[in-house]
Amino acid sequence: MKELLKTIGHVVFKMPVGFVVTIKHLFKKPVTRDYPKHKMPMSPRYRGRHYLERYDDGTERCVCCGLCAAACPADAIYMEPEESDKGERRAQLYEINLLRCIFCGFCEEACPEEAIFLGQEYEFSDDNRNSFLWTKEDMLVPHPRQDNPFKRIIRRVRKVYGIPDKTK
């Protein structure tokens, strides 16, 4: 009898409270980010994939000095030097093993030529290990830099009509 009354008390006084708590949450917005469709804004200091920079005329900044490879705690960088047509030293082979890389950014700090940068991209999943061995060709920024088509059109118009570019 005692148990019966106690249970009835629970049903009448305590269960509705629980129901109210959960139903309140039904009308709140989901906290989920629908990831591939809506991406989180990345911090400007985020260290993603590597880029190899160029000079404005398109020659590579990297001189294959090996400081990045020396600074790399994960030993992920391998390079072999060669001499260009102009007689300058540059990398013949420059590989970063992204599976070894811990994205610490030490290479970026070590580089005396400001040639290597860590960008914002973080989606490089693949289905075989070999494709994570990135070479110079994978990392070099394209030349000329690919801006959005609108900017390219403006640049073309400027060139044709001789309008000076104030941003430079």
Binding site: E3, T7, T22, D34
Partner: protein, 327 residues
Amino acid sequence: MLEAVIISSAKILLLVVAVLTGCAYSTYMERKVVARLQHRMGPTYAGPYGLLQPLADAVKLIFKEDIVPSRVERVIFALAPVISFVPALLTFVVVPFGPEIELFGHTIQMVGTDLNIGILFVFAVTSLGVYGIVLAGWSSGSKYSLMGGIRSSAQMISYEIGYGLSIIGVILVANTLSLRELVDQQASFGSWMIWRQPVGFLLYLTCAIAETNRAPFDMPEAESELVGGYHTEYSSMRFAMFFMGEYANMLAVSAIGATLFFGGWHGPILPPVVWLVLKVVAFMFFFIWLRATFPRFRYDQLMNFGWKVLFPLALLNTMVTAALVML
């Protein structure tokens, strides 16, 4: 004769298709509603708002490998999912979903078959479903499955009595066992059975949740304790049968609840079938809401609850109702 066969076949086909689609979309509804209650989004990828998710699930389950462990009792192992699924479908045969209609000069009753002992049939058939679970648990040859099966049988013993007694009050008031007549008696909002049998309704609801193994009485499954309970060893379509059986059972219990206490298909403006579906959806929403709200009962708590609370309360309700009817 031939006409009767054709009409019956058409009705059965309609019912089966409706129930299977209902099962599929109640999984969708469950996932969506539980997700929203937990600040998640639920399925969004398959089709607009993830509406094709049940279809994707079905295709996935069909193409899964059908694994039969070496230590199972093969015949019973194969039979158990069917035993748990078919009774759930059978229940819908007696649920009325509309008034009589005239079609090509025939009077067609909008109910699978108008049994004069409809309620008795429902309760006989839904109880059969438990055998599927018990046999699945026993034949799997796995300790988790066996535990699930045993829990299910214990749960059934504790709840079946309260379940049966909870509707005796309704029968006493209505003075009929036919679901069609019951619905006819509840034509207006004021004559709904829930106003005359509120305690009976609460008892029915509680026992129905236990009967369908829903949270917080989902001990036979108890993912966190028993892996998957009775269906641990099942895969592919055999598992899907259990899954569909569970949802079909929920739908059945909702439909019977709507018919017994909420006037079945009666309602203004909208067509009768829509009203029944709306009432069933309301029930389903409550089940999902309940699942998102309360944690699972412990084994002994459940037995205590069944025997010391539900059973006496159901008896009391029956006695009081009987006395009032006599007066």
